[in-house]
Symmetry: C2
Subunit: 203 residues, 2 copies
């Protein structure tokens, strides 16, 4: 569906526990909505098998990340399971000013910081159908030890407490359905009266 | 797309100037989303060619309408171009309680009353691409005199002042696109965290 010309792009924040399938949902979403700019986060964690630098993350060393913090280059950053994650401010601002929607994949601490700096950001939290299913998905990845998996599940329970701060809640039981819900949310946000007031004659 | 089980139905209010094509958009919408209950308004105006009692409106006499007002049977009512329009409360409440979305087609005065009584109602205003196009559509209907058309255009300009009170603004330049936007709004509203908090385990 063609979108109307926008005065300003929409900042969209996507969060969800490790293992929920966020990357798959995002890939599906970006496949259908190629006009969205996906902001690739910076991180100090090591790439997993199949992850590429500049695609899944910009992988940097710890001292480089700390320099970016010191130089104020980040919209937000947080430490999560002993690694830094952060979002570069400059590219995002350019895209939003050009009327392009920007999607951020960040965890709950970062999302709260984005909300405080950009009150108009749309915050979406993705949950699995159940904790049992999340546990199954984490084990199915075959990348983490049982100890790490237990840590991720515990972290997920803590993250859930932040859900009331999110505007929308999407359940990823089927990737295509979750992506479709997110696309509907983006269309709806685009239809908000405050985002379309420029379309009205004589008001 | 299958919708998740809801705790409560959503009340949706659709407004827009006479001639914007609201009935056509609603027909398209209800064709795609047969789970929505369309609340047929009561009115004292005479049926237009092709309009059926109980379908487009419940057509009643003025004294019957005034009895309904007196007996508190209406969620809202308003007078518009010398005719009464109103919404019956009972059916709506039953549907919402059963988890069914209810769509109301009402003008701006009625919408404001619904908002004050039901703060969670979703208010959508439909505009034409331009006033010129609205004028063309009104003339194309061949049902109204030039004087009535001029009155409707003037009324439309007044209604436009109420647009900031609406949550969403949909431009009806193409019926299918307008209906698709409204469907997206309904899906998004269904995804709101406050409407899905019952899906979260342990919160």
């Amino acid at each position: 569906m063609a979108l109307r010309k926008k005065a300003k792009g929409q900042l969209i924040v996507l969060s969800g526990p490790s293992g929920v399938g966020k990357s798959t949902v995002i890939a599906e979403l970006l496949g259908q909505r190629q006009d969205i700019h996906f902001s690739v986060s910076f991180t100090t964690r090591k790439p997993r098998v199949g992850e590429a630098n500049g695609v899944n993350y910009n992988f940097v060393e710890r001292d480089e990340f700390e320099r970016m913090i010191a130089d104020g280059e980040l919209l937000e950053h947080a430490e999560y399971v002993n690694n830094y994650y952060g979002t570069s401010l400059k590219v995002i601002q350019e895209k939003l000013d050009a009327g392009i929607d920007v999607l951020l994949d960040i965890e709950v601490q970062g999302a709260a910081k984005v909300r405080s700096k950009c009150p108009d950001a749309v915050l979406i939290f993705i949950i699995p159908p159940s904790f049992e299913e999340l546990s199954r998905r984490l084990r199915g990845r075959n990348t983490d030890s049982e100890e790490v998996i237990a840590g991720r599940l515990q972290k997920a329970r803590e993250e859930y407490k932040q859900i009331p701060k999110y505007d929308y809640l999407v359940v990823n039981d089927k990737v295509s359905a979750a992506a479709e819900e997110i696309i509907s949310i983006l269309i709806a946000e685009d239809c908000r009266t405050k985002n379309r007031i420029h379309l009205i004659e004589g008001v």
